[in-house]
């Protein structure tokens, strides 16, 4: 009897403990959304609210939602539309641009916005000490433009040489207030940052001074506020969306897309191929700590073709992306309708490329491919951990290459260690990574294709082009960077794409589709292919 008493007492203690736990911790139910509030999540904290230091996607998104720009690129039609600038004119053959600002512009704190603020912002962006990414966008061949304030509403910016797509560049320059270094600076866009709880939430409120109105004269934006949760776990993002606590998810992965299509039909959308691409490359840098015989393999276009042609891209698309991707054809995504070279065909499996390699002294015996010196073809492939699509692609590629006798050792690294290897130490052999383009115009990729560029992935910062084809690409890139005519630039970049397809210094794999989830209660979205794909017209969403 006493034993029973003690046992019952013990159970009671445990139950009390459990109840205490529930009382202390409670269910983590989110508060219901306020009226006219948009809710969604971003995977990490923005590094800064200073619009001149928007380096990564979270910061860029906040800048986009809050920053006022002179010109906006319509992501749906890929045309430049006026924003803070009522009108503009390209002059002097594309070397200069004259802006005429709207009347009565203000920042969210009520302070007036004039051409002086535009000039101050651009000058700060161009200051090398500032280290602003916007500065790189506006510099031209190492020189800076001259800025001339003609009136509080008129401003001229003049370059010494032609700056391609000059007007579109201003889509990336949010006009900064005087207090841009403040914790929550003012802004001239549809919203301003009202609250920030690090690691938790960001609240944006509608800018009462925002200039835009709809056709009936109502002030925009329609939403009173935006509640942004900081949540990196995709499953929790999905659960929130399914429970109605979140209104949209941008950049869904294929598994989540299929699950949502089953559980919430009509909310999951495939916008088609995006500008992004997944690729791998070999380390050809002469300074790299790669054995000499491996560097010979990596430097051989035939070797690269054999590797590329042995990969079953259709399996990558079917198994990893569940059909929500396209086989890549080259450096520019097939979704980029204007800039993509239509002569290029999607890369596909081709056994002939291996035969071409075998004809050069390589042998395939006992399931192992060996070079002419007898070295078994084996290399390590690094990629960033935590990206399930990339990890699965690596496993499929490993299996594909195993069939041709190539042994691949996959090493997944945390992002910091990966960056150190590919950008600093060069201590790697091959890398599988992806590129997220922010603009259809490939002008921002110059640093990848110039042989002296710091992002010339396979051999950074060459003192001189290592091969004739790299020298030709240098000429083409420099020519298009000073060409005003879009048609002429396209001709030059078409040839660049053909060279890259022929040499494959970077082996392009797939262009994933842009997948997103949107609540039926949200109206006005017109998804584009450049980021922010869903929110670029935030002031019109309701």
């Amino acid at each position: 009897m006493k034993r029973v008493t003690i046992t019952v007492a013990a159970i009671a203690v445990a139950a009390l403990g459990a109840l205490t736990t529930c009382a202390l911790n409670g269910a983590s139910a989110a508060a219901p959304a306020a009226n006219h509030q948009l809710r969604f999540s971003i995977p990490g904290d923005p590094k800064s609210f200073d619009p001149l230091h928007a380096l990564e996607s979270n910061t860029e998104l906040i800048r986009y939602l809050t920053g006022g720009v002179l010109i906006r690129v319509d992501r749906a039609t890929d045309t430049a539309i006026p924003e803070l600038a009522e009108s503009w004119r390209l002059t002097e053959g594309g070397k200069a641009i004259l802006f005429h600002l709207r009347e009565g512009l203000h920042f969210s704190d009520g302070s007036p916005l004039t051409t002086a603020d535009v000039a101050r912002t651009l000058t700060a962006a161009l200051d090398p000490k500032e280290g602003s990414p916007a500065g790189d966008t506006f510099r031209s061949a190492g020189t800076q433009p001259a800025i001339e304030i003609r009136s509080p509403r008129d401003l001229l910016i003049r370059y010494r040489a032609v700056k391609p797509a000059l007007d579109r560049l201003f889509d990336q320059l949010a006009i900064a207030p005087k207090n841009r270094s403040a914790r929550l600076p003012a802004s001239a866009g549809p919203f301003f940052v009202a609250e920030y709880n690090p690691g938790s939430t960001i609240i944006l409120r509608r800018n009462p001074w925002y200039w835009k109105r709809d056709s009936s004269g109502a002030h925009l934006p329609f939403f009173d506020s935006i509640h942004i949760d900081i949540q990196s776990n995709r499953d929790i993002q999905l659960a929130r969306f399914e429970r109605g606590e979140s209104d949209l998810i941008g950049g869904l992965n294929p598994e989540t897309f299929d699950r949502l299509a089953r559980t919430r039909p009509g909310t999951a959308h495939d916008a088609g191929a995006s500008l992004d691409s997944e690729f791998l490359w070999f380390n050809q840098a002469s300074s790299a700590s790669v054995p000499e015989w491996k560097r010979k393999w990596f430097s051989s276009a035939l070797f690269r073709h054999a590797i590329s042609s042995s990969i079953h891209r259709e399996d990558l698309i079917r198994i990893v992306y569940k059909g929500h991707a396209r086989a890549a054809a080259g450096p520019i995504s097939t979704a980029n309708k204007f800039w993509f070279n239509p002569k290029l065909k999607p890369l596909a499996y081709n056994a002939g490329a291996l035969n071409a390699l075998l004809a050069t002294g390589f042998t395939l015996k006992g399931g192992a491919l060996r070079d002419a010196s007898g070295h078994a073809v084996e290399f390590s492939l690094i990629t960033n951990s935590g990206n399930r699509e990339r990890e699965r692609m690596a496993a499929l590629i490993q299996s594909d290459l195993n069939r041709i006798g190539v042994r691949v050792n996959i090493v997944t690294l945390d992002f910091g260690s990966l960056i150190e290897r590919i950008a600093k130490t060069g201590a790697y052999e091959a890398c599988l990574l992806g590129f997220a383009n922010v603009d259809e115009d490939p002008v921002e990729e110059m640093n990848v294709w110039l042989s002296s560029g710091p992002h010339h992935a396979w051999s950074p910062q060459e003192k001189s082009p290592a091969t004739p084809w790299e020298a030709r690409i240098d000429q083409l890139e420099l020519a298009q960077a000073s060409e005003a005519s879009r048609a002429q630039r396209k001709k030059l970049l078409d040839e660049m794409q053909e060279i890259v397809a022929a040499q494959e210094p970077i082996i392009y794999l797939v262009n994933p589709d842009y997948l997103y989830a949107l609540s039926p209660r949200i109206h006005g979205a017109r998804p584009g292919i450049s980021p922010p794909q869903l929110l670029w017209n935030i002031e019109w969403l309701r």
């Binding site: 499953d235 690094i382 951990s385 699965r392 690596a394 299996s399 997944t412 690294l413 201590a427």
Partner: protein, 265 residues
């Protein structure tokens, strides 16, 4: 009671035998990708279905079980031995420095030790070396927790009356350790070991994020269980819980294996 132990031993031996002997009777190699059968449910061809890349779940589970159990047992044994050594040293003048070392060891971000280890290892390090080193470092890093418990127990037992009585009778320290202390510490050591084995199996999965542990196409029990974090797959395909069930069976069987002298009234 004996029936319980017999059942536990039978289950444990059965599971481990199936894991270690599986290459003889499981038809599919663990690394082979049957891409036309990716993500399939259990069938006669694939008894536990296939994973997202078309690999047989059953053969991967068997491979993972034998790899993880063997290495985790080694790492747990290492941690327990180091903890016992620390407990023995705590009786000497090294008592205070060891207490400080224990506290600091418990507070360190061991993740960076693993990142440094990964940085020092060549990228083409063989899988055996990589996984072996991973578990060895885990074993070394895990000494402090059991060491703390052992040190407290050793100190407590040494101050007990029966040990004082033995010492007063002229018994040597070694004999006191073997005859009086070790029988008590042994059961605590066994409890720590039993808790460490599954902890290391699960912890190894986290090291994959740092480039250590098991690399493709191999897998581990920790990796298979870590995939359960993506809960969507459990609802539609409950067979993905098989690795969790195997680990639960192993740990439960080990728990039930422990000896019990008599029913305590």
């Amino acid at each position: 009671m004996t029936r319980v132990r017999v059942a536990a031993v039978s289950v444990l031996v059965g599971v481990l035998t199936m894991a270690f002997a599986s290459p003889a009777f499981v038809p599919h190699p663990y690394e082979e990708q049957y891409r036309d059968h990716a993500g399939e449910p259990p069938s006669r061809t694939f008894l536990l279905g296939t994973d997202d890349l078309g690999r047989d779940r059953l053969s991967r589970l068997a491979f993972a079980t034998r790899l993880s159990v063997a290495l985790a047992c080694g790492a747990a044994a290492l941690s327990v031995l180091l903890g016992l050594a620390a407990a023995a040293l705590s009786l000497s003048i090294l008592n205070k420095p060891l207490a400080v070392a224990t506290t600091i060891s418990l507070s360190l971000p061991w993740m960076f030790v693993f990142i440094i280890l990964r940085g020092m290892l060549p990228l083409n390090t063989s899988a055996a070396v990589s996984i072996g080193l991973t578990f060895a470092v885990m074993g070394v890093a895990g000494w402090a927790l059991p060491g703390r418990v052992f040190a407290a127990s050793v100190e407590q037992y040494r101050a007990s009356e029966w040990v004082m009585h033995a010492r007063a009778c002229g018994m040597s320290e070694t004999r006191i350790w073997t005859a009086h202390l070790w029988p008590h510490i042994r059961s605590i050591a066994w409890a720590q070991f039993r808790a460490l084995v599954p902890a290391y199996i699960l912890a190894e999965a986290g090291l994959g994020l740092l480039g250590l542990g098991v690399a493709e196409p191999a897998t581990s029990l920790g990796n298979l269980i870590a995939e359960l974090q993506h809960t969507g797959s459990i609802e539609t395909s409950p067979w993905v819980l098989a690795p969790l069930a195997v680990l639960a069976i192993i740990t439960t069987s080990i728990e039930l294996l422990r000896g019990r002298a008599r029913v305590l009234a």
